[in-house]
Point group: C2
Chain length 335, copies 2
Amino acid sequence: MSRRPVMSDVAARAGVSHQTVSRVLNGHPHVSATTRTRVLAAIAELGYRRNLSARVLATGRSNVVGVVAQNTTLYGPSSMVQAIGEAALGADLSLTVGHVAGYDATAASRRIVERLVQQGAAGLVFIAPVDAAAESMALVPSGLPIVTVDGLPEWEVANVSVDQYAGGMLATRHLLDQGHKTVWHVAGPEQWHGSRAREQGWRAALAEAGAQAPPMPRAGWSAASGYQCGRMLARIPDCTAIFAANDHVALGVMRAMAEHGKRIPDDISLIGFDDVPEAGYFHPGLTTIRQEFAEVGRQALRLLLEQLATGARSAESALVEPVLIGRDTVAARPA
Amino acid sequence: MSRRPVMSDVAARAGVSHQTVSRVLNGHPHVSATTRTRVLAAIAELGYRRNLSARVLATGRSNVVGVVAQNTTLYGPSSMVQAIGEAALGADLSLTVGHVAGYDATAASRRIVERLVQQGAAGLVFIAPVDAAAESMALVPSGLPIVTVDGLPEWEVANVSVDQYAGGMLATRHLLDQGHKTVWHVAGPEQWHGSRAREQGWRAALAEAGAQAPPMPRAGWSAASGYQCGRMLARIPDCTAIFAANDHVALGVMRAMAEHGKRIPDDISLIGFDDVPEAGYFHPGLTTIRQEFAEVGRQALRLLLEQLATGARSAESALVEPVLIGRDTVAARPA
DNA sequence: AGGCGGATTGTGAACGCAAACATGCGTGCC
DNA sequence: GGCACGCATGTTTGCGTTCACAATCCGCCT
């Protein structure tokens, strides 16, 4: 056999017309049981697979949704993709995930969006935790439904995020509640919306308590950068409570503190963000703010399906509440 | 405008035939400069995007490679996907990543493979660290090039893996070299080829040194399961050297040891596997075996491109050498 | 002057499928 | 017994693109 069998090959083999094969394939009514089994048998014998391109071309519908994601080795983004995939399984949707990789993220994401659009994706989900994502969104034809995850309200598209602002407040208040005079914050990268919101939540909680906001060192998301910041903070006697940008940064801070002879939580209380699976096994177990990614995925898909149904873009958005996970790194203020 | 513009719309607007538009789009020669600019202008004005389905249908070529991946929140698999994406950027290939998610991995991966095939993918990459992957590979038509990553030799398809066996030996030898009488191993999940190979490397290194292989507890890949195993090992006085299935398991072990008053590396030497970015910031910094994922990605794409060129499947495979990263969890055997 | 060749453009068909329409046949009802 | 209706199936058309081929135009050689 030289080339892949097509519908008419199956039809010939089963002794019917190609349209009957099509009907069987699509579960249309008005096909007799015997015909159906004959067709099915022919399909199996020939190893026939229908050509999706032809199908999409003929129907004009593709029911695949494209996902544009970057930094997919990070815990947050990879969990998001996973959650969306999980949620899409239920709806009759297929997912095509474009992973933005490489040094030139802008060019790569343009390229991915372009392909997704040309492929006829029914809708697009942007995992857009950084500003750069907005630019490639402009490439999307105006009719196509879009949902962002961790996007910005001013983009005026449907969006779902974890309420990072609330998370920042939660963390800060928890520390303040233990009697700490103020709380230091090791911030995440400036380009990430999440780190900005967490910072604002932190500031708001401090202001609300009448506490002074100390200077704010800035880390990446990595333990390495947390460690660098921690080495500074360890030398500041006033610093007794730290809210770290995420769990890995917190790990770096813990390391720096240990090297400096500062005990956690005795000398310093620490709280992270994310609740990565291993956070409970840090030494000591990390108190942190957990994000419910699965819920975010479900919401994102819900918003997309709504747009698919109405045929119009919406700017509706959803917020998912973070929750505090108490473990061993937070204690009452040292005497 | 009701529907998306098509090639003939562009042609009409530019005052040429649709074929000329096609030529411009595909960079064919023999189009005058003035015509080209007119066409380009019309494309821009109309916001035209070509319909990939139609193109694939007409040409029979798709130049997209499908990636089938699961457990994509784990460090290894997600790094692999990233690396392959990185490598594909160079070649004129697009990537469609299907993430197997959900409770029923078998059904999900069948579905993903099916769609990738129907979509006309030019080749498939299976991130196949577990046996279950083989089953969905059987669904792929025999003509389609396949490359597995972390697959099994007996599958007889092109494969690239990190040499986990060598990694296991490396880790074990390193511990033995410090004077430990033997090395304990906390194994990874049995279904994963990588954990089996690491175990075999461990056994081989022990045998080579004439050391007895102690009983082997089995963990998942998580810190939680490492912790459980660690709680047992901590009570065994003879246990002075541990090779953990991966870094997170090692973290759990560390936690258990600390709770039990065992000091690392003074009482117990420990070595992990993977070199996750934060491994150096565990307390103490974890000595581990690093896998070069970027290299694996490059090799995988190379093998795929070769098959694409020759048009025939190969069973050629490539091994990537792991490397020992020495940090603070390994010390000479306690007196 | 005729025509030849290369550059440029247009025309018709084909890709594989699904939708709309058309056909044939049996059944129930008056 | 004839007619209408519904089921099962076949035929035709079109989706948007590319490919193979045809047609035109221009300059230049013989």
